[in-house]
């Protein structure tokens, strides 16, 4: 077990390096750069930018360097171990002129062009709310999907099963952003909830208080339901299908024949096995918590990290986009490892390494 984890941790290093290069290259791949999109966006609102100004901006953002230089600079700043930039601006030479040996330092995620802010600052303030929404949504999804999935499997082809299936398919079929728009309209028409965002205008920048928290809860249900419905529907189907596979198996029949209480039997054996797919996808939940449900968050105007990433990618705001992609990749790699460990623990049938078979 320990060997496995160590080996996986070591493999993460080359994986992340490869991801960093590919993602940085992909962000740079579309034609133009941040300035092209900035200038054309302004032109669309009827605010032409003179070519002379574009030159000044390109200089300001240091966008006239070759790709590899930009990449290496970014990578060096990103790593906790590397060349510390000197006051003269050089990475290789110290102020005294000697060779500047690489050392441990704080990772620096770089600047966002569009926000004119440090990336850490931008992500930091959005992270808490993003995680709150994601965790609440996840709990909502599980709390709804697992019992409903069990019910649908045990009472297969009952009216209840049909009802949940129909609702589930609708939830799956309606695009999230559409549901978000409908809810926003209904929320304002019937409850007077200001459309979009997580707070009413008066609580927007107020300090935390009971009233502000209540206000947050009044807004939170919309994103939770909107993001949750699609996930719930999918999960119900997975849960139902898995359980249906387990229920006719012989061990269930045996346990039943021996007189184990039906409820106890159900929870203790088939349900536990049916949960495996949920656990193995936990690895995707972790980055999901950070990136959020992007389109829904954009429509609802949530102050989360998803819209930040989307916008950065659209605009080729490359340090912001690159750093966020790196964070997400890091979390995916960690999450996959976590879910593998959880699976090993949950299901004794799974073996690692394969040499035990010999």
């Amino acid at each position: 077990m320990f060997h496995l984890i160590l080996k996986r941790l070591l493999w993460m290093i080359p994986t992340l390096f490869a991801i960093s290069f590919i993602s940085f290259a992909l962000i740079q791949l579309p034609p133009g750069d941040y300035l092209t999109s900035y200038v054309t966006a302004l032109a669309e609102t009827g605010e032409p930018v003179a070519e002379e100004q574009v030159e000044a901006l390109r200089r300001r953002y240091d966008l006239d360097r070759p790709f590899m230089i930009q990449y290496l600079k970014w990578l060096n700043n990103l790593l906790p171990f590397g060349f510390e930039r000197q006051d003269t601006g050089s990475y290789w030479r110290t102020d005294a002129g000697d060779f500047n040996w690489p050392s441990f330092k704080w990772p620096d995620l770089g600047m966002s062009f569009e926000w004119n802010r440090q990336v850490t600052e931008l992500i930091g303030e959005r992270l808490l709310l993003t995680m709150l929404i994601s965790v609440v949504t996840l709990l909502f999804t599980w709390a709804l999907a697992i019992p409903v999935g069990i019910y649908s499997a045990v009472r297969q082809y009952s009216w209840g099963d049909y009802t949940f299936s129909v609702l589930g398919f609708i939830g799956l079929a309606i695009p999230n952003f559409l549901l978000a728009l409908v809810f926003m309209y209904l929320g304002y028409s019937f409850f007077g909830i200001s459309a979009g965002g997580l707070f009413s205008p008066e609580y927007q920048d107020a300090p935390w208080s009971v009233a502000r928290f209540t206000d947050l809860l009044a807004h939170l249900w919309i994103p939770v339901i909107v993001i949750g419905t699609a996930g719930t529907a999918g999960l119900i189907r997975v849960m139902r299908g898995n359980l249906l596979d387990e229920l006719p198996k012989q061990y269930v029949m045996t346990a039943r024949a021996k007189g184990l209480a039906p409820w106890k039997l159900l929870i203790k054996y088939p349900v536990r096995v049916a949960l495996n797919p949920l656990i193995s996808t936990i690895g995707w939940v972790l980055p999901g918590i950070v990136s959020g449900s992007v389109i829904t968050a954009v429509v609802l105007g949530l102050p989360t990290t998803g819209p930040l990433l989307l916008r950065a990618l659209q605009n080729q705001d490359m340090y912001l986009a690159g750093s966020m992609v790196m964070i997400l990749s890091f979390l995916t790699v960690i999450g996959t490892l976590l879910s593998d460990i959880l699976l090993l623990w949950l299901d004794p049938r799974i073996r690692y390494e394969g040499r035990d078979n010999a």
């Binding site: 302004l42 200089r59 802010r117 028409s189």
Partner: protein
């Protein structure tokens, strides 16, 4: 039994399908009724007054005046500043205001003070509308209809030497938002240390370079500056009123000198720059000057107090703002302005819900019926402003096309006229513009002093027979078996109509243009592209047909992009524009008629007399009428502004366009919000 199981499966399938159908139908009906979309019938739209063609009576627009010295200095200030004055943090209002504050006579009423102007944007850079349009304070300013130039920071000005020399007399005693006096020294700082600094201004824009020489700016005394050009520059005042002077009065020397290497050792600056994550001193300098820096003093009505990414970004009143109303109340009336970022659809829902203060940006015309239907419920009014850029859609052929055969076809004037006659503009008007507007070419609208009806309404009839005849004359009479015309070299003639995917507002129109052209045998296809890709293909001269919106045709001399190959937005001749801007060093030399237009425009640039400018520009328009380098579709589409019923002093009608910095020219500092 397989038969039974199939039956069973079918029954289940049927049940699920029925359930799904019923539920989606129900959901659809519920949302339809709740959204009020059913109420927005078009008969109500047609009852609307047509957008005004003429200047409105002056009482509904703001006016400017000078403060009568005889009236004394009994000025009043916003209640939120009282406490600050009492504690001594702020000097009394009479000491903060200049000797002769500029008086803005509001459009409707004086005051009241207070309130928050809530605005929404779609991106962080969109908040830049604050510095582009809401903080519209230069030496001069346009009136709200774009007809006259008004004093602002300059009280008056003299023109001498046939338009080579301009002397501006600055308002005495204007102060930056930190209380420091604003003087000619600030303008000189900008001139010497910003404009002429190679790091801050790598390329000096053409407006400051006339006759091959940089403009000379001298300080005559603390409140007088003189601009001297090597040759007469007749458009200078207009440029100053539009945007030029904004730059030169936005650099507070007393604050920014500490970030400039001429005044502070460069190593010291570099250390500071690095500490804030910048690599070079000029990045740090620009960052300090940026409107998002709350510590940099300004002369604007509001100043950023919580810069983005704060949600909402917040701007608060400038206690040293140098304008008053006729009763001597210091402007602005509105205390605070907030910006929040949402998706464009969300912003439209917010507008319908009545959550918008006063905003014209992002309120898309496609939602016009919804805006109209929800006015009462949402507590707002829809204002129809005249669009100063009249060409809602400008269609151009790439006259610099790399393909010599296509280039030759595009250069035939009969071809362009045929393509204009092939368009069914009435159908476009009905389908895409809800029956609003009228067919027009891209030309100054009737509200403009440069209006030439012969061009605005030229070649607009939908006449496929005429189009077909003209196309045959051009030499495109050969057709393939599908009826599509062939090029003179026997290849099929095929046109890509290219545009940016973000111009979807007019999506239906594109398809109609392609269908109309295909109907006269010119096979055309619409290609929506990401805006970066579009920009690159355009600049590489790879596009066939380019479509874009109009500019500020109401004052066409400021940006004549659709009349002469003027800049990178003159899509009909981008390589000719390069030739024009580089004085013949780069790009392709334009054909004779275009050269003639450029010549006349250069003459306008040297002409001070407005009447003569108009007469000359009408000559350019006449050459354009003959050549039709740009094809228009529908014009006179009003600009939609959503104005909360609590807002006062927002004019019923004004002109909306970039040269007037809309809504800047309607004096947002005189807008007011009533409690109920």
């Amino acid at each position: 039994m397989p038969y039974r199981s199939i039956l069973h499966f079918l029954r289940r399938l049927g049940l699920v399908a029925l359930g799904l159908f019923l539920l989606t139908e129900a959901l659809g009906y519920i949302t339809f009724f709740l959204s009020g979309a059913g109420e927005a019938d078009l008969s109500r739209l047609e009852a609307l007054p047509a957008p005004a063609r003429q200047d409105r009576p002056p009482e509904s627009l703001n006016q400017v005046a000078e403060w009568p010295i005889a009236k004394g200095r009994a000025f009043q200030q916003a209640p939120m500043l009282d406490a600050l004055v009492q504690t001594g943090t702020l000097p009394p209002v009479a000491e903060r205001l200049p000797e002769n504050p500029l008086v803005i006579v509001p459009a409707h009423q004086n005051g009241p003070y207070g309130g928050t102007w809530t605005r929404y944007g779609t991106s962080p850079s969109d908040i830049g509308i604050f510095s582009h349009r809401l903080a519209y304070d230069g030496l001069l300013r346009w009136g709200p209809m774009g007809r006259e130039i008004r004093p602002n920071l300059a009280t008056h000005w003299d023109i001498a030497d046939e338009g080579r020399s301009y002397t501006f007399h600055l308002r005495r005693g204007v102060r930056w938002s930190d209380g420091h006096p604003f003087t000619a020294d600030d303008i000189i700082f900008w001139y010497e240390d910003v404009l002429q600094n190679k790091d801050l201004t790598p390329v000096i824009s053409v407006e400051y370079n006339k006759g091959g020489q940089l403009v000379q700016i001298e300080k005559l005394d603390d409140y007088t500056v003189r601009f001297r050009y090597a040759e007469p520059y007749g458009l200078f005042l207009k440029m100053m009123a539009s945007n030029l002077s904004y730059q030169l009065v936005s650099y507070p020397a007393h604050y920014l000198k500490q970030f400039h290497p001429r005044y502070v050792p460069e190593e010291e600056l570099l250390a500071k720059a690095r500490a804030s994550g910048k690599d070079f001193w000029y990045q740090y300098f620009t960052d300090r000057y940026d409107y998002r820096n709350p510590t940099c003093p300004r002369i604007w009505p509001w100043i950023v107090s919580k810069p983005p990414p704060a949600r909402p970004a917040e701007f608060m009143r400038n206690p040293y703002y140098w304008k008053v109303d006729p009763e001597g109340q210091q402007l602005p009336y509105i205390d605070r302005m907030t910006f929040e970022i949402f998706d464009i659809e969300t912003i439209n829902i917010k507008a319908i819900n009545g959550e918008v203060g006063m905003q014209g940006r992002h309120t898309t015309f496609q939602n016009y019926p919804l805006f109209m239907a929800n006015q009462e419920r949402g507590g707002y009014k829809v204002r129809h402003w005249l669009d100063g850029g009249d060409g809602t859609m400008a269609i151009t052929f790439n006259l610099n096309h790399k393909d010599p055969v296509l280039k030759k076809i595009f250069h035939d004037r009969r071809f362009r006229i045929a393509m204009s006659h092939a368009l069914d503009r009435e159908a476009m008007r009905e389908a895409a513009y809800l029956g609003q507007g009228e067919p027009r070419q891209v030309s100054p609208p009737p509200a403009s002093a440069y209006y030439v009806p012969e061009h605005l309404y030229a070649y607009l009839t939908h006449d496929p027979a005429l189009a077909n005849r003209l196309l045959d004359e051009v030499g495109l009479s050969a057709r393939d078996e599908d009826g599509h015309r062939l090029r003179p070299d026997g290849q099929p003639l095929f046109l890509n109509i290219e545009t940016s995917s973000t111009m979807l507002g007019a999506g239906k129109t594109f398809e109609m243009i392609a269908a109309n052209w295909t109907a006269v045998g010119i096979k055309s296809v619409v290609k929506h592209q990401a805006r970066q890709l579009y920009a690159q293909r355009r600049n590489a001269l790879l596009c066939d047909v380019l479509v874009w919106g109009g500019a500020g045709e109401i004052i066409p001399t400021l940006d004549p992009r659709w009349f002469i190959p003027y800049n990178a937005s003159s899509f009909f001749g981008l390589d000719y524009a390069r030739w024009f801007r580089s004085n013949g060093k780069k790009g392709e030399k334009p054909p004779p008629d275009m050269l003639r237009c450029i010549e006349i425009f250069r003459q306008i640039e040297r002409t001070v007399d407005e009447e003569e400018q108009i007469r000359l520009f009408k000559e350019i328009i006449e050459i354009n009428r003959h050549n039709l380098w740009t094809i228009g579709t529908i014009g006179a589409i009003p600009q939609i502004f959503i104005v909360s019923n609590k807002f006062r002093n927002v004019p019923e009608v004004a002109v909306g366009c970039w040269p007037l910095r809309t809504p800047g020219a309607t004096a947002p500092e005189s807008y007011a919000i009533v409690a109920n």
